[in-house]
Amino acid sequence: MKRVYVNEEWCLGCRLCEYNCAFANSGLSDMVLALKDKPVFPRIHVEGDEKITYAVSCRHCEDPVCVKSCIAGALSKENGVIKADPDRCVGCLTCVLVCPYGALAPGENGVMLKCELCLENSCGEPACVKGCPNRAIVYEERGETA
């Protein structure tokens, strides 16, 4: 399955991916309207220090511990994509407690937001990858381990 992979040597730390993510998931067509002067809740997060930066988003684990742990049945795996159902999530953060990658964070109303690969929003493919100026994140097939 295609996933978002990181080339950390190439990451500029510019955080464009975070903005593109928040915009793609805003449901709005105007980036200024969607993001300007508002707190943004991207589903990808640039981490690192002075030396190295890289963007972290959900790995779409083959054996997703978050799905097994969700107390509300809000997380599910559909065709390999790990999805969060905002109507079911109660914001308990159990998934944050168990995800080994630190890939999830709640949005403004406490409900979980996670990368769903933009397959169902207007972008249709990961907006973070599309907008990355240096190919520091790519969307491709790298073969399954299992």
Binding site: M1, R3, Y5, V6, N7, E8, E47, G48, D49, I52, Y54, V56, R59, H60, C61, E62, V65, K68, S69, I71, A72, G73, D87, R88, V90, G91, C92, L93, T94, C95, V96, L97, V98, C99, P100, Y101, G102, L104, A105, G110, R142, G143, E144, T145
Partner: protein, 410 residues
């Protein structure tokens, strides 16, 4: 064709169904459920009272789950005995079900101490099932005074769910702090203050000793008037089906890392089972939902002839009240690293070169990175712990392990 029988219909049971079906698509699965409904998300009963979830969203799986999984659900029926030699389970209505492999997923029951005068209390409940939540909902109104005995997870979640729907919520506990099973004194004090700010009242280090109608007589000599009483003193694993046939039972049904009990052909999983605790090295009942699912899944796979080991269970919890979250994991032993503000506490416990446990209040970002350090026993010497203790980040990991994490399929 194998015949699988599962006793109980909670999270562990669903894990077991999915574990069995990951190996064996054709064997028959029969699920015996004392509660008269398909499996639902038990922790949501307090969110239901609070109005944060609706009944139609409480089911654990979709409407066609049992038929899609080719599992037969016997609702409102109770298993009353096992015959391990004949490999049969007897139900309360006299029916006897044969099995090849059996999984006991009976969960736990509220423990109700023999309080004097309890029988005189008209509106009294425990808080373990959706039926109990619906019963409580029916018996309260905006003028109700609610007394909850027990300031543990279940008592406080119930209290949160009721706050705002009733006139007052008072919680008493013999322990001198809230959430005494997961929080130390400082962390409990921070959480208690937050709960009080949201209207809960506490009587700690004190508990009811006697009831008379709508009055509780406390150990301290105080009296508390109430309209609705909720008993959330503690829970006990439902082990009697296995102890009844001489199987090994401690606090829970003792299982190995394949979830097999001491009785041939019988497995156990979830809140009723006592499995391995990777953080302490001993055996322990880990009564949390993620554990129930994973144990159930492992049991199911092994029942169906596959092989799955679950030896990474640790105690852990994420629980929020009125927007303040408390996370905890592992054991609180060894050296402590601490960061504190007025509204948050972070405490990490390290010993023998490993992260052994943590408590995080109001600081939940990427906590799973800490949890997996405990679970996977990642040596502190292999990471930049100076960085990691300040911030849960994979930046503290060596580049090779990061490349594996973010560059390979997982």
């Amino acid at each position: 064709m194998s015949r699988y029988v599962i006793i109980g219909n909670g999270t562990a049971s669903v894990g077991a169904i999915e574990g069995i079906r990951s190996v064996d698509k054709t064997g028959s699965i029969t699920v015996i459920s004392e509660e008269d409904r398909p499996a639902y998300c038990r922790p949501l009963i307090s969110y239901y009272l609070e109005g944060k979830t609706k009944l139609e969203n409480i089911g654990m799986r979709g409407a066609d789950y049992y038929s899609d999984s080719a599992a037969e659900l016997l609702c409102g029926r109770k298993a009353v005995g096992i015959d391990a030699d004949r490999r049969t389970v007897a139900l309360d209505d006299g029916e006897v079900l044969p099995y090849d492999r059996l999984c006991v997923c009976t969960g736990s029951s509220p423990f109700v101490p023999p309080f004097e005068g309890l029988g005189t209390v008209e509106k009294q409940f425990t808080f373990m099932t959706l039926d109990s939540a619906l019963g409580i909902e029916k018996s309260i109104d905006a003028a109700s005074r609610v007394l909850i005995v027990g300031a543990g997870l279940i008592g406080l979640k119930c209290a949160e769910g009721l706050t705002g729907r009733v006139a007052s919520v008072t919680v008493c506990d013999l322990a001198d702090r809230v959430l005494s099973s997961i929080l130390d004194a400082d962390c409990a004090a921070l959480m208690q203050r937050h709960l009080e700010e949201h209207g809960m009242e506490f009587l700690l280090g004190d508990s009811a000793v006697r009831f008379d109608g709508n009055t509780a007589y406390m150990r301290s000599g105080r009296t508390v008037g109430f309209d609705v009483l909720i008993l959330a003193v503690g829970v006990r694993a439902n082990t009697s089906l296995i102890s009844g046939i001489g199987g090994e039972v401690n606090r829970g049904i003792v299982v190995d890392e394949r979830m097999a009990t001491s009785v041939d052909g019988i497995f156990a999983a979830g809140d009723c089972a006592e499995g391995f605790d990777a953080s302490s090295g001993g055996k322990r009942v880990l009564a949390i939902l993620p554990n129930a699912y994973m144990q159930g899944h492992a049991a199911g796979v092994n029942m169906a002839g596959g092989s799955e080991v679950f030896d990474k269970g640790i105690p852990m919890n994420s629980i929020g009240f009125f927007g303040l979250h408390a996370m905890s994991a592992g054991v609180y032993e060894g050296e402590m690293y601490e960061e504190r503000t007025d509204t948050s506490i972070k405490r990490l416990f390290t010993k023998d070169g490993l992260l052994k446990g943590f408590i995080l209040i109001g600081r939940s970002e990427r906590a799973g990175i800490y949890t997996s350090m405990i679970r996977e026993k990642i040596p502190l010497s292999s990471v930049d712990f100076e960085l990691l203790k300040r911030s849960a980040t994979t930046a503290a990991f060596p580049p090779e392990s990061r490349r594996k994490m973010f560059g390979g399929a997982v």
